[in-house]
Structures are given as structure tokens and as C-alpha cells.
Subunit: 435 residues, 2 copies
């Protein structure tokens, strides 16, 4: 195939930071191989960057106005890598209105304001692609929408924030405190100056919201996603969990149960025998359970210029491989007809097992009191560690049997009211994902 045989797809890039520049350099650097694969030549014809201090050789137009890209009649596909809602939302909207396909890496935009954009894209027969918005370079959106399409997805669980996983890994491997590792993560560039999005689980909640919609065929419902950060996890919790055969990971979990959807991000104990428990450092991984296939796991880099660009360009290639004038084959959220009857489950109504760390005065009878309170609320004890006292306090670590969270909360309130219990109880959810 010569260059003349190739179909040309013209790409405009809005936002020339890590991902935007990574996309351009991947398209340029691997142009020959991509054309061999697709029969398509991708030509970046217009870049909008906040700063004009970028040197972009071989690109026809550079400017500071992203809306000029959305209005550029030459552009076939607009790549949005600016992040945030404003002006990203309006930019994507205008690009679609102008008949352009859109590829975005913007998880917040899709998770929180995606529905009207998706409806607009579908009404115009355009692709709004977002593989890079979830789990960076891992092609998890494609796996969920296409590779596993034969399955009813029962649940999925993912390590979908590299910063948080780096922090928990360091805490585990080096017995370090959260605050300490966070500073290092910031110095290494893994965490933002304001780390809230990462360590509080908001970033993970965005990704989880998107995956849950695709997995179960519902709408994007970010507001229903329960979010709990990792700031309260201590090196002691990590050590006790390990003693019990578990690792603590910050997971995004989505589960469909009798037509009700749980979406929740929180620290979680998972068996050290699970592959997912052994994904360390800044890596991401998503474990998916399909009713036919069982468990499949997808692991790789969740961030970084090149890894994220790998997914942006994969989306461009999907678009390039479309025949002219054909409508997209795969619905944006994976379902041609979405389910309207899925209801969210409140965190109070979930049922799972729990890790509890209770700090008690070292007095006779405290174990009996705690057991009584758990029993009174119908909560069984699966495992227990009582450590030596430091002279004044004794930590009691309990793994409970399966319990409803509202019951557990009642029991915890009763336990915290005991005279012998001196601090709030640390509670971490435990999940078993089968083989």
C-alpha cells in the first residue's frame, strides 16, 4: 500500500499537555505501522494549546483557541485532552454539532456530564470515544463493550488510581505512614499538589461510574457512587491484614444484584492469592466477572503520556477503520438499548465482610463486651487477632462474617460506646472475588 492508497483522517488536538503531546508524537512516530495496520493515514492538522510556546513541526495550524479546532472544516476528529468541564463540555458539544467524531481522555466529563454528549453523538451517527479515560493504556472499555459482550457482567473491581496504589504499596512494603508517602508521591510527580482527586477516590469514582454504565447497561450515575479515601489506612492495618492473608487495595467496585447497582470506591481487603492483590505500584488492573467467562483480569499502566496516548490513538484507529458514511457499530455505552430500571444501592444496604480494628483498654472482659455487641447485631466473627498490650491499650482485630452495612454500623456505634473502647473503630470492607 502506498501513501496514495491510504484514506486520510484529519485530527485536531485540543490541549497540548502530557496526553495531547503524547498523542501527536505517537501518531507521528508510529505513522508507518499504523497505516500498515489500518490503511489510514492520520494527519494532525490543527492543535490548540493554552501556551503557544510549543514547537509542533509538521502541523498546519496551531493556536490557542480550542473552539477554532471544533469549527475547523478540515478536522474529521477532535481529540480533547484538556480535562475539566469548562470549556471541555462546550467544546465537545460544538465539535459533535459540527459533525466531528470526538476522542476524549476526560473521565470527569464523561462520568459527570457525559449523557447529553453521548445522546448528541448518537443522534448524529458520530463516535464519542473515551478508552483513555479509564485505566490509561489498558483497553478495558473495548473489553467490556466488545470482548465480553456475550456476558451478563455481574461485577467488576479495579485498582483504577495509580497514585493511591503507589501509596498503599509503599506503605505495605516499607511500613511507612500515609502522609509520608504522599509527600514522596508528589515529589515523584505521581500525585498532584492537591491530591484530593486521587487519594479521596474521586478520580477512581469517575472511572468506576463509566465502567459500571457499560457493564450493566445503565446510565452514567456519578452521584450514586460511594467514595471513601485511603487517608485513614495505617501501616498497622496493612500489617494486620497481611497477617490474615490479605492486602489492602483502594478498589472501585461495581456490582449488579437483583437489578440494583452498587458502585463504591473504598479501601478493601482482598486475599493475597488474588492476582489483583498483587498489582503493585502505579499500575492499574480491572477484574471483571462475566456470567459465562467467569473472571478475567486486565492489567497495565493507568497513566503516563505514552500509555494514555496508546488508548487515544486506539480510539482514532477505530474511527479510521470505519467505512465512510457508516454509523458506529458499537453503542457509546455498549448497549443499543439501555436499561432504565436499574436502581442504585445505598452503601448502608450493601452486604459484605468487614475488617475491624478496635483499640481497647487492656482490661479483662473487653473481648466479651465486643463479641456480645457483634452477636446482638447478628454479626459473626470469622477471625480474630488480639495483640499484646502496649501497657495501656490493646488492639483487637476482627474479620466478620458477611453482614449488612447498616447492622455493622449499629454494632460499631454500640462498641464505640463501651467504656473500655478508647478510639473510633477502624472499619475496612473485605471482598472475595473467587478464583
Amino acid at each position: 500500500m502506498t501513501v496514495a492508497d491510504s484514506k486520510v483522517v484529519k485530527v485536531g488536538i485540543c490541549g497540548y499537555g502530557t496526553v495531547g503531546s503524547g498523542t501527536l508524537s505517537l501518531l507521528h512516530g508510529n505513522a508507518r505501522e499504523i497505516t500498515r495496520k489500518t490503511g489510514v493515514r492520520f494527519e494532525v492538522c490543527h492543535v490548540a494549546s493554552r501556551s503557544l510556546q510549543v514547537d509542533i513541526s509538521g502541523v498546519a495550524r496551531c493556536g490557542t483557541d480550542p473552539f477554532a479546532v471544533a469549527a475547523d472544516p478540515e478536522v474529521d476528529v477532535l481529540v480533547e485532552t484538556m480535562g475539566g468541564f469548562d470549556p471541555a463540555y462546550e467544546l465537545v458539544r460544538q465539535a459533535l454539532e459540527n459533525g466531528k467524531h470526538v476522542v476524549t481522555a476526560n473521565k470527569a466529563l464523561i462520568a459527570e456530564r457525559g449523557m447529553p454528549l453521548i445522546e448528541l453523538a448518537e443522534s448524529k451517527g458520530l463516535i464519542l470515544a473515551y478508552e483513555s479515560a479509564v485505566a490509561g493504556g489498558i483497553p478495558i472499555i473495548k473489553a467490556l463493550r466488545e470482548g465480553l459482550a456475550a456476558n451478563r457482567i455481574d461485577w467488576l473491581a479495579g485498582i483504577i488510581n495509580g497514585t493511591g496504589n503507589f501509596i498503599l504499596t509503599e506503605m505495605m512494603e516499607k511500613q511507612r505512614e500515609f502522609a509520608d508517602v504522599l509527600i514522596e508521591a508528589q515529589a515523584l510527580g505521581y500525585a498532584e499538589a492537591d491530591p484530593t482527586f486521587d487519594v479521596e477516590g474521586i478520580d477512581a469514582a469517575h472511572k468506576l461510574t463509566i465502567m459500571a454504565a457499560i457493564a450493566f447497561g445503565g446510565s452514567l450515575d456519578f452521584d450514586a457512587t460511594y467514595t471513601e479515601g485511603i487517608g485513614a489506612v495505617t501501616p498497622e492495618d496493612i500489617a494486620y491484614a497481611k497477617e490474615l492473608g490479605y492486602h489492602i487495595k483502594h478498589l472501585g467496585i461495581a456490582r449488579l444484584d437483583s437489578g440494583k447497582v452498587q458502585t463504591r470506591v473504598h479501601p478493601t481487603l482482598i486475599s493475597e492469592k488474588q492476582l489483583l492483590a498483587n498489582v503493585h505500584g502505579v499500575g492499574n488492573a480491572v477484574l471483571v466477572h462475566g456470567h459465562a467467562v467467569g473472571n478475567t483480569l486486565y492489567n497495565g499502566p493507568g497513566a503516563g503520556a505514552e500509555a494514555t496516548a496508546s488508548s487515544v490513538v486506539a480510539d482514532l484507529i477505530d474511527i479510521g477503520r470505519l467505512r465512510d458514511h457508516s454509523t458506529p457499530a458499537v453503542p457509546t455505552l455498549g448497549f443499543a438499548k439501555q436499561k432504565s430500571d436499574l436502581r442504585p444501592v445505598s452503601i448502608e444496604d450493601i452486604e459484605t465482610e468487614y475488617y475491624l480494628r478496635i483499640t481497647a483498654q487492656d482490661i479483662v472482659g473487653v473481648m466479651a463486651d465486643v463479641s456480645t455487641e457483634l452477636e446482638r447485631h447478628g454479626i459473626g466473627i470469622d477471625a480474630l487477632i488480639q495483640k499484646e498490650s502496649d501497657g495501656k491499650h490493646v488492639p483487637i482485630v476482627i474479620l466478620t462474617d458477611r453482614a449488612r452495612e447498616s447492622e455493622l454500623n449499629d454494632a460499631l456505634r454500640a462498641i464505640e460506646a463501651l467504656d473500655s473502647v478508647t478510639e473510633p473503630v477502624m472499619r475496612i470492607r473485605v471482598e472475595n472475588f473467587g478464583e
Copy 2:
């Protein structure tokens, strides 16, 4: 969407064993969800089974002649789940000639006789799909052809035979002998009565051949794939490897290096820190290195009726999602224009590290002799374990530095010629896959 809105795709299934019947039951059992996802209703209208003793309710036609399915004007897609070359090759050819898309789970057919069938399918604008032929329920073909399409794939390595991995896992976890575990695997139904295909690596070589072609853009070249079984691996080797921080896995490895392609299946030492090393039991996993994304790993069940059917039906869904009269968007082997200049590398010409187990008479000087021979052939020693003698013999375990296999072979011949060395040297290749 009502049933009346749905496009109907009529499916014929040839071969009604595990995978064929699993496909029918998945299509029937999950019909509503699949139609919701795709807007397509899949109707199995014709089944050919060797035995007519099957009760297939709701299927219009059942017979014993697969060619009647290939000739059935009502059938849009033929699913081939018979295995083997004869009559599968001719059946697929006739189905394509008759304008039908084909979905096959037959790895031997694609790997060894796929090229003319692929050419025929492409010349007719038809899909010949084979996701289920590689790694069962893991959507690895889709990941390689689409999800990672932006990348130059540098190498991939996979545990792609569940039987072999089950045997090695049992040997490791329970210090059992190969022959012993093989009998158990046969009793459990994990291994065939004739286990050659699995334990000698031929099954893995078929899958590797297919992945290598897609990854690098060359032809299917089964004959160039080097194959070595796991029958010679002993529990001692597994224990020594563990002592050195490695697990032994039966890997299929494909690597592109300066336009030359290595494809090889053999027992391999990989660091226990690698996620791939921790894939145990009958599971499969493929680790892929893309130049942009880095390492991504895909793990799941490599066999089983439902898992394999999950991939067969995913292929059917891809076909169902095609617009009428549109040609397939993704080339059968992932490249619109394949590379004709890729050359295979002989196993003698690979370079890697090696694990050596040398059984020597317990006499002074044997270590010096062995070291001298390695040094004489330019092979460095990275680690060494010398175990206590059993009175007469002493095992010496060596990890070498990187060396060319032909040099290593020369060194091994010289070592085996030493008077003090009493048995053939056990040699297992070592691979480092980075983070």
C-alpha cells in the same frame, strides 16, 4: 427496542461438543441482554453434530452433515467447533465461498492452514473470526488487533495452555512429579488421554503462531515455532528456581528484533515478582509489550465450554454489529498490509539467560571445571547454588548471564564431556519482562 426492531443474524453451528453446545446455550440463555447490547437477534437455525443423540430445542434443522450447514442459504454465519483439519478446512472454505461469515475456535486450522482461508475471506469481504482459538475466554485477539493497535508490539509472552500450567502449579505447590500430576490432570478432565498436544507445547505453539502474526504483521508461520515440552522439568528444578526467586512456567514467547521474529514455546524461569509468574492452575495469561503502552497483561480462563463460548459469541456480536453490506473494519490478521520482510530466528540464534542444573560427582575441582568451560564460551555466571552431596552426587545450579543459545549449547557439550559430570545438564531458559 422490540423483537421486531432487531436485525436477525442466522447462525449455523458445526460440531456440537463442548464449545458448540456452549455457544448455543449462551446465545439462547443470554439472548435478551445480547439483543439489548447489539440490536441484533441471533437465531441458531442449523446444527450439524456427529451424533444425532442431541436434543436441541428451538433449532430448526439438525443433521449430521456440516456441509449442509455451509450450503444452507438461510445461514449468515457458520460457527466451526469441530476441531482438526478434516473436514474443518474444506467446510470453512465452502462456507466462505458461499458468502457466509465464519467463526472458528480451531487454533490448529488457523495456525497451520489459515492463510488461504484468510485470503479467501478478505477477497469476499467476509469475516473469519477466531477469538476463541487463542486463550479461551480472554479477548486477547481484540486487544492485539484493536486495543493496542497504536503500538509496535515488541514482544509477547503467554501462559496459553491450561493443562500445562495446572501440572506445573501442582508440581510447585505439592512437590510432585510430572508423570504423577499428569495422571491426575487426565482424571480431572484437564488433560486428554493423549496429552501430547498440551504437554509438548503444540497447542501453545498454535496459539503463539496466531498471536505473533497479529502482533508483528507477518504471516502465520507455525513451522518456524520452536516447541519444547514440560516433561523434563523436575520438582527439584522448580524448588531451585523458587530459591532463586523464580517460578517455572510453560511460556509461548514471540519477539520481534531487528525485523526478525522469534516464536518459541518452552519451560521458562520468570521472576516471582511478575504477575505472570503468579498465574496458577488452569488459567491463561498473556503479557504484551507495546512500545508506547509498555506492559499490559490479560488473564482469564483459557478453556471450558462457557469461557470459550464467550469468545465465540463475542465474534458473532462483532459480525452482528456490522452494518449490512459493509466490509469488515479490522483486517483478519490485524494489518491491512502485512509485512513480507519478517524472517524467523532459529532457536540457536536467540539470546537469553539460562538456568542450568548440573549433576556432578562430589569431587574437588568440579566447580572450577564447569566455570572454566562456561568462561571459555564467553558465558558469565549470575548466581549459583551448590547443594549438599547425597554422598555420591552433587547438584550445581547456575543462572547464567545473557548468552547466545549456540554458544551455550557448545558449553553444555563441553561440560557434559567432563569426567566429573555424570548426567545430561538440565537447561531452562530465563526471561525478564521488566516491570
